[in-house]
Protein backbone atom coordinates (compact mmCIF):
# COMPACT_ATOMS: atom_id res chain seq x y z
CA UNK A 1 0.00 0.00 0.00
CA UNK A 2 1.28 3.39 -0.96
CA UNK A 3 0.49 6.77 0.49
CA UNK A 4 1.19 5.92 4.09
CA UNK A 5 4.10 7.55 5.79
CA UNK A 6 4.81 7.86 9.47
CA UNK A 7 6.15 11.36 9.92
CA UNK A 8 5.92 11.66 13.65
CA UNK A 9 5.37 9.39 16.56
CA UNK A 10 5.73 11.05 19.87
CA UNK A 11 6.02 8.77 22.84
CA UNK A 12 5.82 10.58 26.13
CA UNK A 13 8.52 9.74 28.60
CA UNK A 14 6.71 11.57 31.34
CA UNK A 15 2.97 11.05 31.05
CA UNK A 16 1.08 13.26 33.43
CA UNK A 17 -2.25 11.78 32.34
CA UNK A 18 -3.36 8.22 32.12
CA UNK A 19 -6.35 6.13 31.14
CA UNK A 20 -8.86 7.20 28.52
CA UNK A 21 -8.05 10.88 28.96
CA UNK A 22 -4.47 10.30 27.97
CA UNK A 23 -5.05 7.71 25.24
CA UNK A 24 -2.94 8.34 22.14
CA UNK A 25 -4.64 10.24 19.31
CA UNK A 26 -4.43 9.45 15.62
CA UNK A 27 -4.08 12.34 13.23
CA UNK A 28 -4.74 11.74 9.55
CA UNK A 29 -3.12 14.03 7.00
CA UNK A 30 -4.41 14.30 3.44
CA UNK A 31 -2.09 16.09 1.05
CA UNK A 32 -2.99 16.57 -2.58
CA UNK A 33 0.18 18.20 -3.82
CA UNK A 34 1.18 17.00 -7.26
CA UNK A 35 4.87 17.74 -7.56
CA UNK A 36 7.58 15.96 -5.63
CA UNK A 37 8.76 17.41 -3.38
CA UNK A 38 5.67 19.54 -2.90
CA UNK A 39 5.14 22.66 -0.83
CA UNK A 40 1.67 21.27 -0.03
CA UNK A 41 3.23 18.26 1.68
CA UNK A 42 5.74 20.57 3.37
CA UNK A 43 2.88 22.62 4.83
CA UNK A 44 0.98 19.45 5.79
CA UNK A 45 3.99 18.14 7.71
CA UNK A 46 4.47 21.45 9.51
CA UNK A 47 0.79 21.51 10.52
CA UNK A 48 1.03 17.91 11.75
CA UNK A 49 4.15 18.65 13.79
CA UNK A 50 2.51 21.71 15.35
CA UNK A 51 -0.58 19.68 16.28
CA UNK A 52 1.47 16.85 17.77
CA UNK A 53 3.48 19.42 19.76
CA UNK A 54 0.33 21.08 21.05
CA UNK A 55 -1.10 17.74 22.13
CA UNK A 56 2.18 16.79 23.72
CA UNK A 57 2.02 20.01 25.70
CA UNK A 58 -1.23 18.70 27.18
CA UNK A 59 0.30 15.33 27.93
CA UNK A 60 -1.27 13.51 25.01
CA UNK A 61 0.61 11.21 22.69
CA UNK A 62 -0.24 11.34 18.98
CA UNK A 63 0.63 9.53 15.81
CA UNK A 64 0.39 10.94 12.30
CA UNK A 65 -0.56 9.06 9.16
CA UNK A 66 -0.10 10.84 5.86
CA UNK A 67 -2.05 10.03 2.73
CA UNK A 68 -0.50 11.49 -0.41
CA UNK A 69 -3.34 11.57 -2.91
CA UNK A 70 -0.85 11.68 -5.79
CA UNK A 71 0.06 8.08 -5.01
CA UNK A 72 -3.54 6.88 -5.16
CA UNK A 73 -4.78 9.24 -7.87
CA UNK A 74 -5.63 6.38 -10.26
CA UNK A 75 -7.45 4.48 -7.55
CA UNK A 76 -9.54 7.57 -6.84
CA UNK A 77 -10.61 7.97 -10.47
CA UNK A 78 -11.26 4.23 -10.74
CA UNK A 79 -13.54 4.50 -7.74
CA UNK A 80 -15.42 7.32 -9.44
CA UNK A 81 -15.95 5.06 -12.47
CA UNK A 82 -16.72 1.74 -10.74
CA UNK A 83 -18.24 2.96 -7.44
CA UNK A 84 -15.95 0.85 -5.33
CA UNK A 85 -12.48 1.49 -3.89
CA UNK A 86 -9.38 -0.58 -4.58
CA UNK A 87 -7.93 -2.23 -1.48
CA UNK A 88 -5.28 0.49 -1.25
CA UNK A 89 -7.81 3.29 -1.48
CA UNK A 90 -10.06 1.56 1.01
CA UNK A 91 -7.19 1.56 3.51
CA UNK A 92 -6.64 5.26 2.91
CA UNK A 93 -10.34 5.99 3.41
CA UNK A 94 -10.30 3.93 6.59
CA UNK A 95 -7.27 5.85 7.91
CA UNK A 96 -8.85 9.20 7.21
CA UNK A 97 -12.38 8.54 8.41
CA UNK A 98 -11.39 6.74 11.62
CA UNK A 99 -8.81 9.30 12.77
CA UNK A 100 -9.26 11.55 15.79
CA UNK A 101 -8.43 14.61 13.72
CA UNK A 102 -7.80 15.45 10.07
CA UNK A 103 -5.35 17.83 8.46
CA UNK A 104 -6.46 18.50 4.88
CA UNK A 105 -4.08 20.37 2.61
CA UNK A 106 -4.51 21.13 -1.07
CA UNK A 107 -2.93 23.38 -3.65
CA UNK A 108 -5.28 26.06 -4.91
CA UNK A 109 -5.85 25.56 -8.64
CA UNK A 110 -7.96 28.00 -10.66
CA UNK A 111 -9.61 29.58 -7.60
CA UNK A 112 -10.34 26.40 -5.62
CA UNK A 113 -9.13 23.08 -4.18
CA UNK A 114 -7.53 20.77 -6.71
CA UNK A 115 -9.74 18.36 -8.63
CA UNK A 116 -7.89 15.40 -7.13
CA UNK A 117 -8.59 16.68 -3.64
CA UNK A 118 -12.31 17.06 -4.38
CA UNK A 119 -12.44 13.65 -6.09
CA UNK A 120 -11.06 12.04 -2.94
CA UNK A 121 -13.68 13.80 -0.85
CA UNK A 122 -16.31 12.63 -3.35
CA UNK A 123 -15.51 8.94 -2.85
CA UNK A 124 -15.96 9.19 0.92
CA UNK A 125 -19.29 8.24 2.46
CA UNK A 126 -20.89 11.66 3.03
CA UNK A 127 -21.56 10.76 6.66
CA UNK A 128 -18.05 9.53 7.37
CA UNK A 129 -16.53 12.88 8.41
CA UNK A 130 -19.38 13.94 10.69
CA UNK A 131 -18.01 15.77 13.76
CA UNK A 132 -14.41 15.27 12.57
CA UNK A 133 -12.07 18.02 13.84
CA UNK A 134 -10.34 19.36 10.71
CA UNK A 135 -7.48 21.74 10.10
CA UNK A 136 -7.60 23.30 6.63
CA UNK A 137 -4.43 24.18 4.77
CA UNK A 138 -3.70 25.35 1.24
CA UNK A 139 -0.81 26.43 -0.90
CA UNK A 140 -0.58 28.70 -3.93
CA UNK A 141 1.74 30.85 -5.94
CA UNK A 142 0.41 34.10 -4.52
CA UNK A 143 -1.39 35.19 -1.37
CA UNK A 144 -4.19 36.48 -3.59
CA UNK A 145 -5.58 32.90 -3.42
CA UNK A 146 -5.60 32.72 0.36
CA UNK A 147 -9.34 33.20 0.85
CA UNK A 148 -10.01 30.02 -1.11
CA UNK A 149 -9.63 28.23 2.23
CA UNK A 150 -12.65 30.09 3.53
CA UNK A 151 -14.86 30.31 0.46
CA UNK A 152 -14.12 26.88 -1.03
CA UNK A 153 -12.64 24.46 1.49
CA UNK A 154 -14.58 25.48 4.58
CA UNK A 155 -18.08 25.13 3.04
CA UNK A 156 -17.10 21.69 1.70
CA UNK A 157 -16.26 20.43 5.18
CA UNK A 158 -19.18 22.22 6.79
CA UNK A 159 -21.49 20.48 4.34
CA UNK A 160 -20.07 17.15 5.50
CA UNK A 161 -20.78 18.13 9.12
CA UNK A 162 -17.07 18.09 9.89
CA UNK A 163 -15.73 20.72 12.29
CA UNK A 164 -13.02 22.84 10.69
CA UNK A 165 -11.07 24.93 13.22
CA UNK A 166 -11.23 28.73 12.77
CA UNK A 167 -7.65 29.18 11.58
CA UNK A 168 -6.92 27.88 8.12
CA UNK A 169 -3.30 28.15 7.00
CA UNK A 170 -2.44 29.39 3.54
CA UNK A 171 1.16 29.34 2.40
CA UNK A 172 2.11 31.31 -0.71
CA UNK A 173 5.49 30.89 -2.34
CA UNK A 174 6.69 34.06 -0.63
CA UNK A 175 5.79 32.66 2.79
CA UNK A 176 8.60 30.16 2.55
CA UNK A 177 11.04 33.10 2.26
CA UNK A 178 12.11 35.55 -0.47
CA UNK A 179 15.01 34.82 -2.71
CA UNK A 180 16.51 38.20 -1.92
CA UNK A 181 16.33 37.70 1.83
CA UNK A 182 16.10 40.75 4.06
CA UNK A 183 13.67 41.71 6.83
CA UNK A 184 10.53 41.20 4.64
CA UNK A 185 11.44 37.59 4.06
CA UNK A 186 12.04 36.97 7.73
CA UNK A 187 8.66 38.54 8.56
CA UNK A 188 6.87 36.38 6.02
CA UNK A 189 8.45 33.18 7.26
CA UNK A 190 7.73 34.17 10.83
CA UNK A 191 4.09 34.94 9.97
CA UNK A 192 3.62 31.48 8.47
CA UNK A 193 5.22 29.90 11.52
CA UNK A 194 2.82 31.76 13.83
CA UNK A 195 -0.22 30.75 11.81
CA UNK A 196 0.89 27.11 11.83
CA UNK A 197 1.41 27.15 15.59
CA UNK A 198 -1.97 28.78 16.24
CA UNK A 199 -3.76 26.32 13.93
CA UNK A 200 -2.01 23.35 15.56
CA UNK A 201 -3.19 24.47 19.00
CA UNK A 202 -6.74 24.90 17.71
CA UNK A 203 -6.81 21.40 16.17
CA UNK A 204 -5.28 19.85 19.29
CA UNK A 205 -7.96 21.51 21.44
CA UNK A 206 -10.72 20.39 19.06
CA UNK A 207 -9.41 16.80 19.15
CA UNK A 208 -9.34 16.82 22.93
CA UNK A 209 -12.88 18.17 23.15
CA UNK A 210 -14.29 15.91 20.44
CA UNK A 211 -16.76 13.21 21.40
CA UNK A 212 -16.65 11.77 17.89
CA UNK A 213 -15.29 8.39 18.96
CA UNK A 214 -18.53 7.74 20.78
CA UNK A 215 -20.72 8.55 17.78
CA UNK A 216 -19.18 6.39 15.05
CA UNK A 217 -21.91 4.79 12.95
CA UNK A 218 -22.13 1.04 12.45
CA UNK A 219 -22.75 0.56 8.71
CA UNK A 220 -25.00 -2.41 9.48
CA UNK A 221 -27.06 -0.63 12.09
CA UNK A 222 -30.70 -0.40 11.08
CA UNK A 223 -32.35 3.01 11.39
CA UNK A 224 -34.29 3.71 14.59
CA UNK A 225 -37.82 2.40 14.38
CA UNK A 226 -36.98 0.11 11.43
CA UNK A 227 -39.58 -2.52 10.65
CA UNK A 228 -39.06 -5.18 7.97
CA UNK A 229 -42.64 -4.70 6.78
CA UNK A 230 -42.44 -0.90 6.51
CA UNK A 231 -42.06 1.81 9.09
CA UNK A 232 -45.72 2.64 9.12
CA UNK A 233 -46.77 -0.89 9.97
CA UNK A 234 -48.99 -1.09 6.90
CA UNK A 235 -51.46 -3.96 6.96
Amino acid sequence: MSGLDEVASTPLSDRSLSGVEGAPKRIAVVSSGLSQPSSTRLLADRLAEATVRALQGKGIQATVEVTELREIAKDVTNNLVTSFPSPGLEQAIERVTTADGLIAVTPIFTTSYSGLFKSFIDVLDPASLTDMPVLLGATGGSERHSLAIDYAMRPLFTYLHARPVPTGVFAASSDWGHGDGGPDAADAAHGLHERIERAGVELADAILQSKRDTTVRDPFALPNGFSPIGAYGAQ
Binding site: T82, F84, S86, P87, P219, S227
Partner: protein, 390 residues
Protein backbone atom coordinates in the same frame (compact mmCIF):
# COMPACT_ATOMS: atom_id res chain seq x y z
CA UNK B 1 -31.67 -29.62 -11.32
CA UNK B 2 -31.11 -31.25 -8.00
CA UNK B 3 -27.89 -33.17 -7.60
CA UNK B 4 -25.58 -33.77 -4.68
CA UNK B 5 -24.21 -30.23 -4.98
CA UNK B 6 -27.62 -28.74 -4.17
CA UNK B 7 -26.58 -25.90 -6.43
CA UNK B 8 -28.46 -24.17 -9.23
CA UNK B 9 -26.24 -22.70 -11.93
CA UNK B 10 -27.41 -20.23 -14.50
CA UNK B 11 -27.01 -16.89 -16.17
CA UNK B 12 -28.44 -13.44 -15.61
CA UNK B 13 -28.64 -10.61 -18.07
CA UNK B 14 -29.16 -6.86 -17.89
CA UNK B 15 -30.31 -6.81 -21.54
CA UNK B 16 -28.06 -3.93 -22.61
CA UNK B 17 -27.79 -2.95 -26.26
CA UNK B 18 -24.16 -1.92 -26.47
CA UNK B 19 -21.89 -1.27 -29.43
CA UNK B 20 -19.49 -4.11 -30.18
CA UNK B 21 -16.20 -2.24 -29.70
CA UNK B 22 -14.36 -4.57 -32.08
CA UNK B 23 -16.66 -3.93 -35.03
CA UNK B 24 -18.18 -0.56 -34.04
CA UNK B 25 -21.61 -1.96 -34.83
CA UNK B 26 -24.70 -1.96 -32.65
CA UNK B 27 -27.49 -4.44 -33.12
CA UNK B 28 -31.14 -3.38 -33.12
CA UNK B 29 -33.49 -3.78 -30.18
CA UNK B 30 -35.36 -6.42 -32.17
CA UNK B 31 -32.18 -8.42 -32.69
CA UNK B 32 -31.15 -8.08 -29.05
CA UNK B 33 -34.53 -9.34 -27.87
CA UNK B 34 -34.37 -12.35 -30.18
CA UNK B 35 -30.81 -12.95 -29.00
CA UNK B 36 -31.94 -12.96 -25.36
CA UNK B 37 -34.38 -15.71 -26.21
CA UNK B 38 -31.74 -17.68 -28.12
CA UNK B 39 -29.35 -17.32 -25.18
CA UNK B 40 -31.99 -18.58 -22.72
CA UNK B 41 -32.88 -21.55 -24.91
CA UNK B 42 -29.21 -22.42 -25.31
CA UNK B 43 -28.71 -22.15 -21.54
CA UNK B 44 -31.12 -25.05 -21.17
CA UNK B 45 -29.47 -26.97 -24.03
CA UNK B 46 -26.07 -26.84 -22.31
CA UNK B 47 -27.52 -28.04 -19.01
CA UNK B 48 -27.85 -24.84 -17.00
CA UNK B 49 -30.64 -24.53 -14.42
CA UNK B 50 -31.63 -20.86 -14.35
CA UNK B 51 -32.13 -17.91 -16.67
CA UNK B 52 -32.74 -14.56 -14.97
CA UNK B 53 -33.71 -11.36 -16.75
CA UNK B 54 -33.38 -7.77 -15.57
CA UNK B 55 -36.00 -5.04 -15.62
CA UNK B 56 -35.13 -1.59 -16.94
CA UNK B 57 -37.13 1.31 -18.25
CA UNK B 58 -34.52 3.24 -20.16
CA UNK B 59 -32.16 2.69 -23.09
CA UNK B 60 -29.71 1.08 -23.67
CA UNK B 61 -31.69 -1.75 -22.01
CA UNK B 62 -34.49 -3.61 -23.77
CA UNK B 63 -36.04 -5.66 -20.98
CA UNK B 64 -38.88 -3.56 -19.57
CA UNK B 65 -41.40 -6.41 -19.52
CA UNK B 66 -39.74 -9.55 -18.11
CA UNK B 67 -42.82 -11.75 -17.63
CA UNK B 68 -43.72 -11.41 -21.33
CA UNK B 69 -40.23 -12.49 -22.34
CA UNK B 70 -39.99 -15.23 -19.72
CA UNK B 71 -43.37 -16.67 -20.74
CA UNK B 72 -42.16 -16.97 -24.32
CA UNK B 73 -38.96 -18.65 -23.13
CA UNK B 74 -41.04 -20.97 -20.97
CA UNK B 75 -42.81 -22.16 -24.11
CA UNK B 76 -39.46 -22.82 -25.80
CA UNK B 77 -37.95 -24.78 -22.89
CA UNK B 78 -38.83 -27.73 -20.71
CA UNK B 79 -36.62 -27.61 -17.66
CA UNK B 80 -35.11 -24.15 -17.30
CA UNK B 81 -36.08 -22.19 -14.19
CA UNK B 82 -37.04 -18.62 -15.12
CA UNK B 83 -36.23 -15.77 -12.80
CA UNK B 84 -35.57 -12.04 -12.71
CA UNK B 85 -32.56 -9.90 -11.84
CA UNK B 86 -34.26 -7.84 -10.65
CA UNK B 87 -37.99 -7.05 -10.44
CA UNK B 88 -38.50 -3.49 -9.25
CA UNK B 89 -40.41 -3.78 -5.99
CA UNK B 90 -40.13 -0.02 -5.56
CA UNK B 91 -41.89 1.30 -8.64
CA UNK B 92 -44.13 -1.58 -9.73
CA UNK B 93 -47.54 -1.99 -8.19
CA UNK B 94 -47.30 -5.05 -5.93
CA UNK B 95 -50.76 -6.10 -7.12
CA UNK B 96 -49.49 -6.29 -10.70
CA UNK B 97 -46.35 -8.19 -9.64
CA UNK B 98 -48.55 -10.69 -7.77
CA UNK B 99 -50.72 -11.21 -10.84
CA UNK B 100 -47.97 -11.25 -13.49
CA UNK B 101 -45.81 -13.81 -11.71
CA UNK B 102 -48.69 -16.03 -10.61
CA UNK B 103 -49.76 -16.08 -14.26
CA UNK B 104 -46.20 -16.91 -15.31
CA UNK B 105 -46.11 -19.72 -12.74
CA UNK B 106 -49.16 -21.30 -14.36
CA UNK B 107 -47.99 -21.04 -17.97
CA UNK B 108 -44.47 -22.21 -17.04
CA UNK B 109 -45.66 -25.10 -14.85
CA UNK B 110 -44.02 -23.59 -11.81
CA UNK B 111 -40.57 -23.00 -13.32
CA UNK B 112 -40.56 -19.47 -11.90
CA UNK B 113 -39.07 -17.46 -9.11
CA UNK B 114 -38.10 -13.81 -8.86
CA UNK B 115 -35.65 -11.43 -7.31
CA UNK B 116 -36.67 -8.14 -5.74
CA UNK B 117 -34.55 -5.09 -6.35
CA UNK B 118 -34.73 -1.34 -6.13
CA UNK B 119 -33.29 -0.55 -9.54
CA UNK B 120 -30.11 1.20 -10.55
CA UNK B 121 -31.47 4.29 -12.27
CA UNK B 122 -32.54 7.23 -10.10
CA UNK B 123 -35.01 8.75 -12.58
CA UNK B 124 -37.05 5.52 -12.76
CA UNK B 125 -38.75 6.55 -9.52
CA UNK B 126 -40.33 9.79 -10.79
CA UNK B 127 -41.20 8.08 -14.10
CA UNK B 128 -43.52 5.88 -12.08
CA UNK B 129 -44.65 8.58 -9.68
CA UNK B 130 -42.40 7.52 -6.81
CA UNK B 131 -39.74 9.27 -4.74
CA UNK B 132 -36.23 7.78 -4.69
CA UNK B 133 -35.74 9.02 -1.15
CA UNK B 134 -38.35 6.48 -0.12
CA UNK B 135 -36.66 3.60 -1.97
CA UNK B 136 -36.18 1.40 1.09
CA UNK B 137 -39.62 2.19 2.47
CA UNK B 138 -41.21 1.34 -0.88
CA UNK B 139 -39.33 -1.95 -1.01
CA UNK B 140 -40.47 -2.88 2.50
CA UNK B 141 -44.09 -1.87 2.26
CA UNK B 142 -44.71 -3.06 -1.30
CA UNK B 143 -43.25 -6.45 -0.55
CA UNK B 144 -45.29 -6.75 2.64
CA UNK B 145 -48.38 -6.37 0.46
CA UNK B 146 -47.09 -8.67 -2.29
CA UNK B 147 -46.37 -11.40 0.24
CA UNK B 148 -49.90 -11.18 1.63
CA UNK B 149 -51.49 -11.18 -1.84
CA UNK B 150 -49.79 -14.51 -2.53
CA UNK B 151 -50.31 -16.15 0.86
CA UNK B 152 -53.77 -14.89 1.86
CA UNK B 153 -56.96 -15.37 -0.13
CA UNK B 154 -58.60 -12.03 0.61
CA UNK B 155 -56.57 -9.02 1.60
CA UNK B 156 -57.56 -5.88 3.43
CA UNK B 157 -54.75 -3.42 3.00
CA UNK B 158 -53.99 0.12 3.91
CA UNK B 159 -50.49 1.46 3.47
CA UNK B 160 -48.63 4.59 2.60
CA UNK B 161 -47.88 4.08 -1.06
CA UNK B 162 -50.94 2.72 -2.84
CA UNK B 163 -54.71 2.79 -2.84
CA UNK B 164 -56.21 0.76 0.02
CA UNK B 165 -57.66 -2.68 -0.75
CA UNK B 166 -60.79 -4.20 0.75
CA UNK B 167 -61.34 -7.94 0.45
CA UNK B 168 -59.12 -8.01 -2.64
CA UNK B 169 -58.12 -11.32 -4.16
CA UNK B 170 -55.33 -11.31 -6.74
CA UNK B 171 -55.85 -13.63 -9.65
CA UNK B 172 -54.81 -16.16 -10.71
CA UNK B 173 -53.93 -17.66 -7.36
CA UNK B 174 -50.34 -18.96 -7.20
CA UNK B 175 -49.85 -22.38 -8.77
CA UNK B 176 -50.71 -25.12 -6.26
CA UNK B 177 -51.37 -22.34 -3.75
CA UNK B 178 -47.64 -21.78 -3.35
CA UNK B 179 -46.07 -18.42 -4.06
CA UNK B 180 -42.99 -18.26 -6.29
CA UNK B 181 -39.77 -18.33 -4.29
CA UNK B 182 -38.46 -14.80 -3.68
CA UNK B 183 -34.89 -13.55 -3.56
CA UNK B 184 -34.02 -10.08 -2.34
CA UNK B 185 -31.09 -8.49 -4.10
CA UNK B 186 -29.02 -5.72 -2.63
CA UNK B 187 -25.51 -4.45 -3.01
CA UNK B 188 -25.30 -2.25 0.05
CA UNK B 189 -28.41 -2.11 2.24
CA UNK B 190 -28.61 -3.99 5.54
CA UNK B 191 -32.33 -3.13 5.55
CA UNK B 192 -32.87 -5.44 2.57
CA UNK B 193 -30.78 -8.22 4.10
CA UNK B 194 -32.91 -7.84 7.22
CA UNK B 195 -36.09 -7.98 5.14
CA UNK B 196 -34.97 -11.19 3.40
CA UNK B 197 -34.14 -12.74 6.79
CA UNK B 198 -37.46 -11.65 8.32
CA UNK B 199 -39.45 -13.49 5.65
CA UNK B 200 -37.11 -16.47 5.43
CA UNK B 201 -36.64 -15.58 1.75
CA UNK B 202 -33.44 -15.85 -0.27
CA UNK B 203 -30.75 -13.18 -0.45
CA UNK B 204 -28.84 -12.53 -3.64
CA UNK B 205 -25.58 -10.61 -3.82
CA UNK B 206 -24.76 -9.36 -7.28
CA UNK B 207 -21.09 -9.90 -6.48
CA UNK B 208 -19.89 -8.11 -9.61
CA UNK B 209 -19.15 -4.51 -8.79
CA UNK B 210 -17.66 -4.66 -5.34
CA UNK B 211 -14.84 -6.60 -3.77
CA UNK B 212 -15.74 -9.88 -2.14
CA UNK B 213 -15.27 -8.61 1.41
CA UNK B 214 -18.18 -6.23 1.04
CA UNK B 215 -20.57 -9.05 0.14
CA UNK B 216 -19.13 -11.28 2.83
CA UNK B 217 -20.25 -8.77 5.44
CA UNK B 218 -23.70 -8.35 3.89
CA UNK B 219 -24.30 -12.08 3.47
CA UNK B 220 -22.93 -12.81 6.93
CA UNK B 221 -25.41 -10.32 8.32
CA UNK B 222 -28.30 -11.92 6.39
CA UNK B 223 -27.36 -15.42 7.58
CA UNK B 224 -27.17 -14.27 11.19
CA UNK B 225 -30.59 -12.58 11.00
CA UNK B 226 -32.13 -15.61 9.21
CA UNK B 227 -31.17 -17.66 12.23
CA UNK B 228 -32.39 -14.94 14.60
CA UNK B 229 -35.87 -15.15 13.08
CA UNK B 230 -35.87 -18.91 13.57
CA UNK B 231 -36.04 -19.99 9.93
CA UNK B 232 -33.07 -22.33 10.39
CA UNK B 233 -29.41 -22.05 11.18
CA UNK B 234 -27.25 -19.36 9.59
CA UNK B 235 -25.77 -22.08 7.38
CA UNK B 236 -29.25 -22.94 6.11
CA UNK B 237 -30.08 -19.45 4.86
CA UNK B 238 -30.74 -19.28 1.11
CA UNK B 239 -27.93 -17.43 -0.67
CA UNK B 240 -27.42 -16.64 -4.33
CA UNK B 241 -24.39 -15.03 -5.92
CA UNK B 242 -23.64 -13.32 -9.19
CA UNK B 243 -20.42 -13.72 -11.05
CA UNK B 244 -18.71 -13.04 -14.31
CA UNK B 245 -16.23 -14.88 -16.50
CA UNK B 246 -14.86 -15.13 -19.99
CA UNK B 247 -13.18 -18.39 -20.89
CA UNK B 248 -11.18 -19.83 -23.76
CA UNK B 249 -9.12 -23.00 -23.94
CA UNK B 250 -5.97 -20.94 -23.63
CA UNK B 251 -5.98 -18.33 -20.90
CA UNK B 252 -4.21 -15.65 -22.93
CA UNK B 253 -6.72 -16.02 -25.79
CA UNK B 254 -9.52 -15.28 -23.34
CA UNK B 255 -7.74 -12.16 -22.08
CA UNK B 256 -7.00 -10.87 -25.58
CA UNK B 257 -10.50 -11.50 -26.85
CA UNK B 258 -12.34 -10.09 -23.84
CA UNK B 259 -10.16 -7.02 -23.21
CA UNK B 260 -11.80 -4.66 -25.72
CA UNK B 261 -15.23 -5.54 -24.32
CA UNK B 262 -13.98 -5.00 -20.79
CA UNK B 263 -12.23 -1.72 -21.60
CA UNK B 264 -15.39 -0.28 -23.16
CA UNK B 265 -18.03 -1.87 -20.91
CA UNK B 266 -20.67 0.65 -19.90
CA UNK B 267 -20.36 0.02 -16.18
CA UNK B 268 -16.64 -0.31 -15.48
CA UNK B 269 -14.94 0.49 -18.77
CA UNK B 270 -12.37 3.29 -18.96
CA UNK B 271 -11.54 2.71 -15.30
CA UNK B 272 -9.41 -0.01 -13.76
CA UNK B 273 -7.50 -2.42 -15.96
CA UNK B 274 -8.84 -5.91 -16.65
CA UNK B 275 -6.11 -7.26 -14.38
CA UNK B 276 -6.96 -4.88 -11.51
CA UNK B 277 -10.69 -5.54 -11.80
CA UNK B 278 -10.10 -9.29 -11.93
CA UNK B 279 -8.02 -9.12 -8.77
CA UNK B 280 -10.58 -6.99 -6.90
CA UNK B 281 -13.83 -8.63 -8.04
CA UNK B 282 -14.94 -12.16 -8.99
CA UNK B 283 -14.47 -11.43 -12.73
CA UNK B 284 -12.35 -14.29 -14.06
CA UNK B 285 -10.93 -14.19 -17.56
CA UNK B 286 -8.90 -17.22 -18.53
CA UNK B 287 -9.09 -20.95 -19.06
CA UNK B 288 -12.14 -22.96 -17.93
CA UNK B 289 -10.00 -24.40 -15.13
CA UNK B 290 -9.20 -20.90 -13.85
CA UNK B 291 -12.92 -20.12 -13.74
CA UNK B 292 -13.62 -23.41 -11.96
CA UNK B 293 -10.94 -22.76 -9.36
CA UNK B 294 -12.14 -19.23 -8.67
CA UNK B 295 -15.80 -20.10 -8.27
CA UNK B 296 -15.17 -23.34 -6.38
CA UNK B 297 -13.61 -21.02 -3.79
CA UNK B 298 -16.78 -18.95 -3.37
CA UNK B 299 -18.26 -21.29 -0.77
CA UNK B 300 -15.21 -20.71 1.40
CA UNK B 301 -15.92 -16.99 1.33
CA UNK B 302 -19.70 -17.10 1.66
CA UNK B 303 -20.58 -20.53 3.06
CA UNK B 304 -22.46 -23.26 1.18
CA UNK B 305 -24.99 -21.55 -1.02
CA UNK B 306 -27.79 -22.37 -3.43
CA UNK B 307 -27.52 -20.43 -6.66
CA UNK B 308 -24.71 -19.15 -8.85
CA UNK B 309 -25.59 -16.89 -11.77
CA UNK B 310 -23.10 -15.64 -14.34
CA UNK B 311 -23.20 -12.53 -16.49
CA UNK B 312 -22.16 -13.61 -19.99
CA UNK B 313 -23.91 -11.45 -22.56
CA UNK B 314 -23.18 -7.78 -21.91
CA UNK B 315 -20.90 -5.02 -23.20
CA UNK B 316 -21.63 -5.68 -26.86
CA UNK B 317 -20.47 -9.30 -26.98
CA UNK B 318 -21.94 -10.78 -30.18
CA UNK B 319 -24.39 -13.67 -29.97
CA UNK B 320 -21.93 -16.16 -31.46
CA UNK B 321 -19.39 -15.52 -28.69
CA UNK B 322 -22.07 -15.62 -25.98
CA UNK B 323 -23.29 -19.00 -27.19
CA UNK B 324 -19.71 -20.29 -27.23
CA UNK B 325 -19.31 -19.08 -23.64
CA UNK B 326 -22.46 -21.00 -22.73
CA UNK B 327 -21.00 -24.12 -24.36
CA UNK B 328 -17.91 -23.77 -22.18
CA UNK B 329 -19.99 -22.96 -19.10
CA UNK B 330 -22.36 -25.89 -19.53
CA UNK B 331 -19.84 -28.27 -21.00
CA UNK B 332 -16.85 -27.81 -18.71
CA UNK B 333 -17.25 -25.27 -15.93
CA UNK B 334 -20.59 -26.18 -14.37
CA UNK B 335 -20.08 -29.97 -14.38
CA UNK B 336 -16.78 -29.46 -12.57
CA UNK B 337 -18.34 -26.99 -10.16
CA UNK B 338 -21.20 -29.38 -9.38
CA UNK B 339 -18.61 -31.99 -8.38
CA UNK B 340 -16.67 -29.48 -6.31
CA UNK B 341 -19.75 -28.13 -4.53
CA UNK B 342 -20.99 -31.67 -3.75
CA UNK B 343 -17.84 -32.34 -1.72
CA UNK B 344 -18.44 -32.02 2.01
CA UNK B 345 -21.70 -30.17 1.59
CA UNK B 346 -23.56 -30.70 4.89
CA UNK B 347 -26.75 -32.72 4.45
CA UNK B 348 -28.84 -30.12 6.28
CA UNK B 349 -27.95 -27.27 3.90
CA UNK B 350 -30.97 -26.85 1.63
CA UNK B 351 -30.72 -27.30 -2.12
CA UNK B 352 -31.66 -24.44 -4.45
CA UNK B 353 -35.39 -23.75 -4.23
CA UNK B 354 -37.80 -25.00 -6.91
CA UNK B 355 -41.56 -25.04 -7.19
CA UNK B 356 -41.54 -28.74 -6.25
CA UNK B 357 -39.46 -28.10 -3.15
CA UNK B 358 -41.71 -25.20 -2.12
CA UNK B 359 -44.84 -27.32 -2.57
CA UNK B 360 -43.29 -30.10 -0.49
CA UNK B 361 -42.48 -27.59 2.25
CA UNK B 362 -45.99 -26.21 2.13
CA UNK B 363 -47.50 -29.67 2.52
CA UNK B 364 -45.20 -30.34 5.46
CA UNK B 365 -46.16 -27.00 7.01
CA UNK B 366 -42.54 -25.88 6.73
CA UNK B 367 -42.80 -22.76 4.58
CA UNK B 368 -41.23 -19.88 6.48
CA UNK B 369 -43.59 -17.56 8.32
CA UNK B 370 -42.81 -13.82 8.27
CA UNK B 371 -40.86 -13.01 11.41
CA UNK B 372 -40.54 -16.70 12.28
CA UNK B 373 -42.80 -19.29 13.90
CA UNK B 374 -43.01 -17.28 17.10
CA UNK B 375 -44.55 -14.47 15.10
CA UNK B 376 -47.23 -16.82 13.84
CA UNK B 377 -48.38 -17.48 17.38
CA UNK B 378 -48.59 -13.74 17.97
CA UNK B 379 -50.34 -13.19 14.64
CA UNK B 380 -52.22 -9.93 14.55
CA UNK B 381 -53.65 -10.08 11.03
CA UNK B 382 -57.06 -11.62 11.56
CA UNK B 383 -57.98 -14.08 8.89
CA UNK B 384 -54.41 -14.27 7.68
CA UNK B 385 -53.55 -17.66 6.26
CA UNK B 386 -49.80 -17.77 5.94
CA UNK B 387 -49.95 -21.49 5.14
CA UNK B 388 -51.31 -22.80 1.89
CA UNK B 389 -54.31 -24.59 0.53
CA UNK B 390 -53.85 -28.32 0.94
Amino acid sequence: MSDASGMQFGIFTVSDVTEDPTTKTTISEAERIKNLIAIAVHAEEVGLDVFALGEHHNPPFVSSSPTTTLAFIAAKTQRLLLSTATTLITTNDPVKIAEDFAMLQHVADGRVDLMMGRGNTGPVYPWFGKDIRQGIELALENYALLHRLWTEEFVDWSGRFRTPLQGFQSTPRPLDGVAPFVWHGSIRSPEIAEQAAYYGDGFFANNIFWPKEHYQRLIGYYRQRFEHYGHGTAAQAIVGLGGQFFARKNSQDAVNEFRPYFDNAPVYGHGPTLEEFSAQTPLTVGSPQEVIDRYAGMREAYGDYQRQLFLVDHAGLPLKIVLEQLDILGGEIVPALRKEFAKNRPADVPAGPTHASQVAKALAGELPVPGGKQAKKDEVHTGAAFGVKK
